[in-house]
Amino acid sequence: MAVTLTSAAAKHVSAFLAKRGKGTGLRLGVRTTGCSGLAYKLEYVDETRPEDVTFVSHGITVVIDPKSLPYIDGTELDFAREGLNEGFKFNNPNVKDACGCGESFSV
């Protein structure tokens, strides 16, 4: 399995990284918090750790810590617009249940 980006997501990540002026990729992960137990992490990568798992998707390096990987393996990260609002969406096949807003979930 792997974690991938849609081409729209990759395009935006690459533009944000260029504007930010530093960073080697995108870190995806989960942590145990929130109303449904788990919450996503979505961060710029300035340093990778030895245990990190990396994928490359549409030219973007995706970094995931091994503990998070089982929860998000198979995820496709998409970039979406809803009216004037915009941001990233996790299309995560492992999710059983999510809270109404989708900011936290359980597997």
Partner: protein, 620 residues
């Protein structure tokens, strides 16, 4: 599901913990709203992708419209279509005297000017709040929920009244205002200069209709406004007008009709913008009577016909540098703000004056809003990795009136805000039961030369001898530069306070004038202060002498009485003059003449206190 943003490493927010923070550049001609997204400051465009909102509000038959929709009706419904409300913020009708640019039905009310519209009488605060409401709604749609905090920018020269008016407008629009921020400071933040080396920076802001230059000093993360200057009637519109005149001349056109003039102005503006990127551009139009216009304008010609406009911006820069006692070479970096600074001839002139290329990699229309958004993002707590807050400074000194019409400065100019300063004052007369507190703003030594902000009275001071009461007056300026003054008599605890919301404010020209006058009149002011101080001293001694003579006149013989009367007369004579050294000598003379009397009064007082009392009763 929610749309997520990329965070800085190890800074992913907890679910629902990310706060929605925005920065608003409330401009004279255009306004913008920005936020920090994916760690980057971005302007929030409307559904058509347009970042700017024309600062125009129309009170139409079917409700309020703002921005481009209001602009479309500007010519056909001028009375109900309010442009440049920012110029009216915190202003009284008297402040606008002679300014005939406004086509509105002004209503003369005490305090701020009001405008009669179809929807009733509107104050500039209400007009601005309608604009801010539209920006808030755009931000809420873009960020997917209610706004947690907003930073709104104001010109550095805005006084208390104008700042308060701006803050009121934001609150009225339902915006939680974290603070107001000076526009040049916001521009500097957008360029990250707050993280840069300490030093002097210049912000050159050529907007649609106004020009401002600010000289800032960055020290310990604080931007201090050293000087501001500018021209409230010079901007990009004047460049359009020059091109418009050139078209009329070059195409040998008769004076155009109103609709042709509008068409040609649009063509002129487009041509000007084209010449930022290209060396020449075609101007093609067909007038209402069918007359064709087909011209080519080169960048060289544009530079030629607008050279004196560019030159007009250089004078205020030199004045600002002179006020700050700096040379152009002291400036470490120059920030460009305002769409008109895209023009190559402007950039060249600025680069030549400062001997270095200006910073231009951010969009000059957006840079103020971006800086405000970065500040809002920090204040709302989205970046807890950085614990410092950027501070601003007071533009003019704040103080109060003391005896003799003198100003006691409590908060000096350029104090970093928020700030609270307290000072103790006392009563002047025996049994004085109230004290008038007159709050003033300015650099001069005499109240008459400063601006009056507020007056209030501390009442209920218990009767005490002159000089015995201890009245602590506290000046507190909050992070937005708004002032709260409180007074408290320490022995009795009676207190009074005032929040300064003056009825209307100073123009930028007045602030500049007040500052310059304070330098020019330094010597006069010093003499005036010395004279006023001696006059107060004279009044105090005369008062004390008269009450002593009234109470214990029998203690002086005729000779001594004559000496005292002569000294009193001499003080009275010099009190009316303007020679402070002579008055000081007369005061001293009167003091000496009354010393024996004072000593005998003391003895009599002690005797009275002791008479008929046993020694052991006094031992404690």
């Amino acid at each position: 599901m929610a749309l997520l943003q990329i965070a800085e490493p190890d800074a992913s927010p907890a679910p629902h913990a990310r706060k929605r923070a925005i920065g608003i550049d409330l401009g004279t001609t255009n306004s913008l709203v920005a936020t920090v997204r994916h760690g980057l400051a971005v302007v929030l465009p409307d559904a058509e992708g347009r970042p700017l909102v024309p600062s125009i509000v129309r009170y139409g038959e079917n409700g309020v419209v703002t921005g481009y929709a209001a602009m479309a009706k500007q010519a056909s419904d001028p009375h109900n279509t309010i442009v440049s409300a920012k110029r009216l913020m915190g202003r009284g009708l008297a402040d606008l005297d002679g300014d005939r640019r406004f086509p509105y039905r002004f209503v003369d009310t005490p305090g701020m000017v009001r405008i009669g519209t179809r929807a009733g009488v509107k104050s500039p605060v209400e007009v601005s709040s309608d604009l801010l409401r539209a920006l808030r709604e755009r931000a809420e749609a873009s960020l997917g929920g209610a706004i947690d905090g907003a930073v709104v920018t104001v010109p550095a020269y805005f006084d208390e009244a104008q700042r308060q008016a701006t803050k009121d407008a934001a609150r009225l629009a339902g915006l939680p205002v974290l603070r107001l921020l000076n526009e040049p400071t916001a521009a500097a933040i957008a360029y990250g200069l707050d993280n840069a080396a300490e030093g002097i920076y210049a912000v050159y802001d050529l907007g649609g209709g106004t020009f401002d230059i600010s000289i800032l000093r960055l020290a310990k993360g604080v931007f201090e406004v050293l000087a501001t200057n500018g021209d409230t009637a010079l901007g990009g519109d004047d460049f359009d007008h020059r091109v418009f005149c050139w078209i009329i001349e070059a195409a040998h056109l008769p004076p155009p009709s109103a609709s042709d003039a509008r068409l040609l102005l649009v063509k002129a503006r487009t041509a000007k913008e084209q010449l930022t990127l290209h060396d020449e551009t075609a101007i093609v139009a067909s007038l209402s009577d069918g007359t064709p216009v087909d011209l080519v304008l080169t960048r060289t010609t544009l530079t030629g016909i607008t050279a004196n406009l560019v030159a007009k911006t250089l004078q205020p820069i030199k004045r600002a540098l002179r006020d700050a006692k700096l040379a152009a070479t002291d400036v470490k970096g120059v920030v460009l703000v305002g769409g008109a600074t895209r023009m190559p001839q402007v950039r060249r002139a600025v680069a030549e004056l400062f001997g270095q290329p200006p910073l231009t990699n951010l969009d000059p229309d957006e840079v103020v809003a971006l800086g405000a958004a970065i500040q809002a993002n920090k204040l709302v707590g989205n970046r807890d990795d950085e614990d410092w807050l950027l501070l601003d400074v007071t533009p003019l000194s704040l103080g109060l009136e003391t005896m003799g019409g003198l100003v006691e400065k409590v908060v000096p100019r350029n104090s970093t805000i928020p700030v609270a300063r307290a000072q103790e004052f006392t009563t002047f007369k025996d049994g004085q039961s109230a004290m008038a507190i007159h709050v003033v703003q300015g650099e001069r030594e005499k109240v008459a030369d400063c601006r009056s902000l507020a007056r209030f009275e501390l009442r209920g001071i218990p009767p005490m001898a002159a000089g015995a009461a201890r009245i602590r007056v506290t000046f507190a300026v909050d992070a937005d530069g708004l002032l709260d003054v409180s007074a408290r008599e320490e022995t009795s605890g009676v207190a009074a306070h005032v929040s300064v919301k003056p009825s209307y404010g100073l123009t930028d020209g007045e602030i500049a004038r007040m500052l310059q006058e304070s330098f020019a009149h330094a010597a006069d002011d010093m003499r005036a202060r010395a004279l006023a101080e001696e006059q107060v001293e004279a009044d105090r001694i005369v008062e004390a002498t008269r009450s002593a003579l009234a109470a214990d006149g029998d203690l002086v013989d005729a000779d001594e009485r004559a000496r005292i009367d002569a000294a009193l007369a001499e003080v009275a004579r010099l009190r009316a003059g303007d020679d402070h050294t002579a008055l000081r000598a007369a005061n001293a003379q009167l003091n000496r003449a009354t010393e024996p009397l004072a000593a005998r009064r003391m003895d009599r007082g002690v005797q009275r206190a002791l008479t008929g009392r046993r020694v052991d009763a006094l031992s404690d």
